[in-house]
């Protein structure tokens, strides 16, 4: 069985970085891009007209960066991720789609970034609360600020995952939150929420961003809702992949995890299933 050992791998992917996780992240990108209403839905036309060089950090298999490059040929989009598997996949996708304005390279966002000062008009970080420890956020934001040009935008999106009426889902969420605390990935003050939402604005403010704004979005994966099937695939896969992490840090026994996972796939397909994921995007300008 795979184990979770960031000290050895320098990789905080709690779901591993297998091709299955690649598939999961592609699914997640599609779901979030849809529920948020686009790739940069909060940016005005005026703001977009000044954006050509874009960096997506912890880009995973590249879903967001590829879509942006495809949607807008004048954008030069770069993605970095710690996982060589993810980067290989993303570059293959860029080649297969004939996109020469999108490129990917391996990079560790818990270390200084390999880009000159003021390289980008927009730097984007999505769902990085799942992949780097809390203590890595302040130095990362210093780096993001450094590589953004004056007047450029730093944009961060964090998700509070789901709130549901499924016993299995809620129980697995509590286990995930307990495990995150043990692994140092935890923003939560009480183990009930991921807890990233109040931090986004603060990270931007603390490095000196101005004109900070926030925009919430939600993804309804209830029975009968538009994103039910996407949410079902994304979340059952996420919890499947989470097994080594949850079992590895010792918050649940393998047998109990197996039972909860099976109960989850039953409950999420019941007609009475209700679930919403809340997400917050914050962005600010480098003065």
């Amino acid at each position: 069985m795979e184990t979770y050992d960031p000290a050895k791998t320098k990789n905080w992917y709690i779901l591993g970085d297998s091709s299955t996780e690649g598939v999961h992240l592609i699914e997640q990108d599609v779901n979030f891009n849809t529920s948020m209403g686009g790739l940069l839905p909060e940016q005005s036309q005026e703001s977009l007209s000044h954006i050509s060089h874009v960096l997506d950090v912890a880009c995973g298999p590249g879903g967001w960066a590829l879509e942006l490059g495809q949607a807008d040929a004048h954008m030069q989009v770069t993605g970095i991720d710690i996982s060589a598997n993810m980067i290989e996949y993303a570059n293959a996708q860029a080649r297969a789609s004939g996109l020469d304005n999108v490129s990917f390279k391996v990079g560790n966002i818990t270390e200084p970034l390999d880009f000159p000062d003021a390289s980008f008009d927009l730097v984007n970080a999505r769902h990085i609360e799942e992949v780097i420890p809390v203590t890595a956020f302040p130095p990362l934001f210093q780096e993001l600020f450094r590589i953004t040009r004056r007047g450029g935008i730093i944009r961060i999106t964090g998700s509070e995952w789901g709130v549901t009426n499924s016993f299995a889902y809620e129980t697995l969420m509590r286990q995930l939150l307990r495990a995150s605390r043990i692994a140092g990935l935890d923003f939560s003050a009480d183990g009930r929420n991921i807890g990233i939402a109040p931090w986004l604005r603060r990270f931007l403010r603390d490095v000196g961003c101005v004109n900070i704004q926030e925009r919430p979005s939600f993804l309804d994966f209830s029975a009968g809702a538009l994103q039910q099937s996407g949410g079902y695939r994304d979340l059952t896969l996420a919890f499947e992949l989470m097994q080594p992490f949850l079992v590895g840090v010792g918050v649940v026994a393998p047998q109990e995890f197996e039972e909860l996972k099976q109960r989850l796939s039953v409950e999420m397909l019941e007609d009475s299933f209700r679930g919403i994921v809340y997400t917050l995007t914050a962005w600010g300008q480098k003065p």
Binding site: V163, T164, D190, N193, W199
Partner: protein, 276 residues
């Protein structure tokens, strides 16, 4: 029976959350998601409490007649006084239990509004309560529900009292959670409206950031200081804390919400649907 978690303090229909009020205060828009408010003339506000929402709505939309109902006589009096003091005469407050049979004819309103009522009634009472809301709504009119989840905070005492409330509402059958982590009210709303017979249901999400330094901080931190004090007997009765523990946490919370590093964001969902 409609007794709120605050009933024992005779605090009437004090609601747990008022996440929408800072936005309304700032923008003067109590119904921001409604594309066309011109057909809305008669509005019913459920559990109108101190009357803030009803008064703001009457003030923002002078063509409307707004009725607030509440089962606490003192609250009704204070809401009336507030409306009078602000010179708003298209709002009226009536003493009536908003969660039982309403003493009103069928089809009386174009809009029935219920905000942050989780906690006032058992989860299983919602379908019946919504039927009654629907009865007093005119065909083509609309029921509008707004609920929030627990505020997400970076400060432990404030977050932990929220967690206790969640646990107590679960224990007393007042939340939609299967085990008490969060309230799970927000994902329940759309289906509740559909099951009641509403059509064209829609949902919109909002947030209020009331961290230190934010515009909403003053109003909501004052609101939480009050509600999280009033809710303590309910928490004790539900057995989720001890007197000593809650007093200590409340003290700590007071320090947190007035400190420079107080961080809190609340997501809330507004869901509305038409009566066919």
């Amino acid at each position: 029976m409609a007794t709120s978690p605050f009933a024992e303090q005779r605090a009437g229909t004090t609601r747990l959350f008022n996440f929408d009020l800072p936005f309304i205060k700032k923008t003067d828009q109590p119904l921001p998601e409604q594309a066309d408010i011109s057909p809305i003339h008669r509005v019913l506000d459920i559990a109108s409490g101190s009357g803030e929402w009803a008064i703001a709505t009457a003030q923002a939309y002078p063509h409307m007649q707004v009725v607030g109902i509440d089962n606490d006589a003192a609250m009704v009096e204070s809401a009336r006084a507030q409306a009078k003091a602000r010179g708003v005469d298209n709002v009226h407050f009536t003493l009536m239990n908003p969660f039982q049979t309403l003493d009103m004819p069928d089809g009386s309103f174009e809009l029935v509004n219920a905000r942050f009522i989780t906690g006032f009634i058992p989860a299983e009472a919602w379908p019946q309560v919504l039927q009654e809301f629907l009865r007093v709504t005119r065909p083509g009119g609309c029921i509008r529900l707004t609920e929030g989840e627990l505020p997400i905070s970076s400060n432990p005492a404030f977050a932990n009292i929220g967690g206790m409330i969640s646990q107590a509402l679960f224990t007393t059958g007042r939340s939609f959670s299967p085990e008490g982590r969060l309230l799970s009210s927000t994902p329940a709303l759309q289906r509740l409206l559909q099951d009641a017979g509403c059509q064209d249901t829609r949902q919109v999400v909002s947030i209020t950031n009331f961290s230190a330094g934010m515009e909403a901080h003053a109003d909501l931190s004052q609101d939480f200081s009050r509600t999280y004090r009033l809710v303590q007997p309910f928490l004790l009765k539900a057995g989720v804390t001890t007197q000593e523990e809650i007093e200590q946490l409340y003290q700590q919370m007071q320090g947190e919400i007035h400190s420079d590093d107080f961080g809190a964001v609340a997501f809330y969902l507004t869901v509305w649907g038409k009566k066919p």
